[in-house]
């Protein structure tokens, strides 16, 4: 059974979002996503400063099994990326909601978060 933390927001392309105290939003891939991918061996992240549109491609995850695109779940500017994934991409497998986060953005419109899936809706989406 996949772990789906109640305090996060989700999108159907299997990214999670966490609203931070400073108004920025941290993005990663869900536990369900990393289970589907299997052992992750490379993560390609967006550039800090990049302006992303919602659903725009923001990176690539390569596992032993497959390559998968990572999308910006909402529009915004990239404030930081998780450089630890460069040397230890397996963090996205072992701690998808913690040390395995992907990037942080400043939302173009903070209200965009409200329309995303909550944990219950995401659980229903993946049949969990």
């Amino acid at each position: 059974m996949s772990n789906i933390p109640a305090e996060l927001k989700y999108v159907t392309s299997h990214e999670w979002l966490r609203l931070e105290a400073d108004g920025s939003v941290t993005v990663g891939i869900t536990e369900h996503a990393q289970e589907l991918l299997g052992d992750i061996v490379f993560v390609e992240l967006p550039k800090v400063g990049a302006q992303l549109a919602a659903e725009e491609q923001a990176g690539v995850v390569e596992s032993v099994k497959a390559a998968s695109d990572v999308y910006a779940p909402i529009a915004g500017e990239v404030l930081a990326v998780n450089e630890a994934l460069e040397g230890t991409p397996e963090l996205a497998n072992s701690e998808p909601y913690g040390e395995g986060w992907f990037f942080r953005i400043r939302p173009a419109n903070a209200a965009d978060l409200d329309s995303l899936l909550d944990a219950a809706a995401y659980a229903a989406e993946i049949g969990a």
């Binding site: 052992d39 061996v41 490379f42 390569e62 596992s63 032993v64 099994k65 390559a67 397996e90 497998n93």
Partner: protein, 361 residues
């Protein structure tokens, strides 16, 4: 579509925490937690694979040898003593590969091991080709098969069966011996030392548990694929099939053509050799980021195009490798269409890894 079939080890896989997937109509373990960890276990210690989905066929009858000399492209006359093994392609009249297989010389005939996904087609083809020969084909559905592989594999098997240990240790590569109803051969699909064991289905679960108790780790089909790819070994249906010539799939060494033996596909091979072989099998190495995948286009500037037939991330090397079919005149470099970007790769001779070490230049 009938329900997926289960091997005698199905319950053992679940007990060991396997993630099960459909493979050629069988419910098989893809991994037991981490494919990478399992891969490294086989390169450094000992792992056990359930390969009971593969099919063992015993071949008996007065014409067994003559029939096999017609059926397969390698020559069973090379098998000098009981238990000796031979790798071969079984070709169609057009010189395409119906399947690849191992055949052992037995006391009363031969024993063949064919792929799971091709079993029905193989048996139909073999039965058709047996017309007019005094030969009996007996698929051994009563047998399970385990592959125990890795530098510590042989010693772990010897520890589990001390009464057979001296005989097992004495086996050279591509040799096997019967032990009561079991058959143990020094063969495998990983590029490591190890054995493959055919045993009565009813003995399989207990032996699997014995091996785990001796520190042998269960290994899924995911790691089986990355291990064989590092070892430069073909996977049927990917690196070759009925539309691909063995001459263009790295199987030239298995074609015993020096005498005039009339095996199925020989005429097509001779015609191809006379006309000139257009493609050859090579290894590709991507030392930067990214993973080469099956089906990606290989572009060789000024020469032509080829295709990746198997690609993966190599856990042993820490970067991506692939097996590809490329124009014969390809040199030491090429590019691969990696998700829209032509990315430079090195062209090398297979294999990539043997005995846990990088072997290509």
């Amino acid at each position: 579509m009938s329900a997926a079939r289960r091997t005698p080890l199905y319950e053992e896989h679940l007990a060991a925490g396997a993630k099960m997937v459909d493979f050629a109509g069988w419910e098989m373990p893809i991994h037991y937690g981490s494919q990478l960890k399992e891969h490294n276990t086989v390169r450094t210690g000992a792992g056990v694979f359930d390969v009971s989905h593969m099919t063992v066929v015993d071949i008996t009858g007065a014409d067994a040898k003559a029939w096999l000399q017609k059926l397969i492209a390698n020559d069973v006359a090379k098998l000098g003593f009981t238990g000796k093994a031979l790798y071969s392609g079984m070709l169609n009249e057009d010189g395409g590969v119906v399947d690849d297989l191992i055949v052992y010389l037995a006391d009363d005939g031969y024993r063949m091991v064919v792929n799971a996904g091709t079993t029905d087609k193989d048996l139909a083809w073999m039965t058709r080709q047996a017309e007019g020969f005094a030969v009996t084909l007996t698929p051994r559905k009563d047998l399970a098969m385990l592959a125990v592989q890795g530098p510590a594999a042989v010693e772990r098997v010897c520890a589990a069966r001390p009464q057979w240990a001296d005989a097992i240790r004495s086996l050279k590569v591509f040799q096997g011996l019967p032990f009561d109803a079991w058959f143990v051969a020094r063969t495998g699909y990983t590029g490591e030392d190890g054995v493959e064991i055919m045993l009565p289905a009813g003995d399989a679960a207990a032996f699997f548990r014995e091996l785990l108790a001796l520190g042998v780790e269960p290994i899924g089909l995911g790691a089986r694929d990355t291990l064989r790819l590092e070892a430069g070994m073909n996977l049927y249906g990917h690196d070759m099939d009925e539309t691909v010539s063995p001459l263009e799939a790295g199987m030239g060494w298995t074609l015993a053509m020096k005498d005039g033996r009339d095996f199925i596909g020989r005429q097509a091979l001779e015609a191809k050799l006379a006309a000139g072989v257009a493609m050859r099998q090579v290894g590709l190495v991507l030392e930067g980021r990214g993973v080469l995948r099956e089906g990606q286009r290989v572009v060789v500037e000024g020469v032509g195009e080829g295709v990746i037939t198997s690609g993966t991330f190599s856990p042993t090397l820490g970067h991506s490798i692939a097996i590809a079919r490329v124009p014969f005149a390809t040199g030491e470099s090429a590019t691969v269409d990696l998700r829209g970007t032509l990315t430079p790769v090195r062209v090398v001779k297979l294999p990539f890894v043997r005995g846990g070490k990088k072997v290509f230049e």
